[in-house]
């Protein structure tokens, strides 16, 4: 079951979903994003919620436009969203307002670009090992 929420109403919706006793979605299972390149809104942030008491699940989706992918962070309600949001920022470039520590988590700190966007290449790129030099075979010092 999926519900779609506007970006501004997200925090309100998450809190209400958690606090209502017959819903009690107090467990955030997963937080990720999808890039629908040619659609508007382009980015969809997806929250998977679960209720421990009632054992049912709900999906909350928020659409973000391509020119300004910002969304409020839910770390104050679900601390587990911390790393999920960092990963989504790292791979998609979606900025989570209010996140305590929004920096890259999977890619190196100086990586440019957001790899999982649909307009980014798959790669197979040159190594970024910051200047290591491998001598040719006959000049190596290994005996």
């Amino acid at each position: 079951m999926t519900i779609v929420v506007e970006g501004d109403g997200l925090i309100d919706a998450i809190v209400r979903l958690r606090d209502q006793p017959d819903l009690s979605f107090g467990f955030l299972a997963s937080l990720t994003a999808t890039d629908q390149l040619s659609a508007d809104p382009r980015f969809w942030v997806v929250y998977e919620l679960r209720s421990v008491e009632h054992a049912h699940r709900l999906r909350v989706k928020v659409g973000l436009r391509a020119d300004d992918p910002r969304i409020p962070s839910v770390t104050s309600i679900h601390p587990t969203a911390n790393w999920h949001e960092r990963e989504t920022f790292d791979l998609y470039g979606i900025v989570f307002d209010g996140h305590p520590d929004l920096e890259r988590i999977l890619m190196p700190g100086d990586w440019e670009g957001h790899p999982l966007r649909k307009d980014e290449e798959l790669g197979g790129v040159d190594t970024r090992y910051h200047g290591a030099f491998i001598p040719p075979v006959d000049e190596r010092t290994n005996p």
Binding site: L106, T127, V137, T141, N142, P143
Partner: protein, 172 residues
């Protein structure tokens, strides 16, 4: 057609110097063989298990396929005490500088085995995140393919490396 004269390292020496060199060379050759044999007999790997191949590496060192039979009794934690680096697993872009630093911290003579296709050539992950072969970062002596290679395959690669060390080893 002019013939190129290739100069050996004995060119331009006096006969006495050459004789001294030959004597020293004879002694050194015998010492070479002995030292190479000792080096191959007790190579100590540095733990560089990254991903799935690391589990097969540990299995190779465990009870059934026992690496200690060939002198690799201890997997040294510190690279400064190790002379073999078995790169087991996929090397990501973030890990590449670390790999190079660990390699630089090892003392000569040192050898590198690239275990698995991910370390040898990037494996099935031809993408932005995986280094397409660790031989772009460190000089590799033996490549062991497989995803992951069975412990017998890794042992074959290690034995090949030991042969290489024994036959071509040279101390300076």
């Amino acid at each position: 057609m002019p013939v190129e004269r290739i100069e050996g390292h004995l060119a331009g020496r006096t006969p006495e110097e050459i004789e001294e060199e030959v004597e020293r060379g004879v002694l050194l050759t015998t010492l070479d063989k002995a030292v190479s044999w000792a080096r191959k007999q007790s190579m100590w790997p540095a733990t560089f298990g990254l991903a799935c191949c690391a589990i097969e590496l540990i299995s190779t060192g465990a009870g059934r396929y026992d690496l200690a039979r060939w002198g690799m009794e201890v997997f040294r934690g510190s690279p400064r005490q190790a002379d073999l680096m078995i790169v087991a697993g996929r090397v990501s872009q973030k890990m590449a500088p670390v790999l190079r630093r660990i390699y630089d911290q090892m003392v000569e003579p040192k050898w590198v085995i690239s275990m698995g296709v991910c370390a040898s050539a990037g494996g099935m992950f031809t993408n932005y995140a995986v280094v397409q072969g660790v031989d772009t970062i460190v000089p590799v002596d033996i490549y062991v393919p497989g995803c992951p290679p069975k412990p017998e395959m890794l042992m074959f690669g290690i034995l090949k490396l030991q042969e290489k060390v024994r036959t071509t080893g040279r101390i300076r």
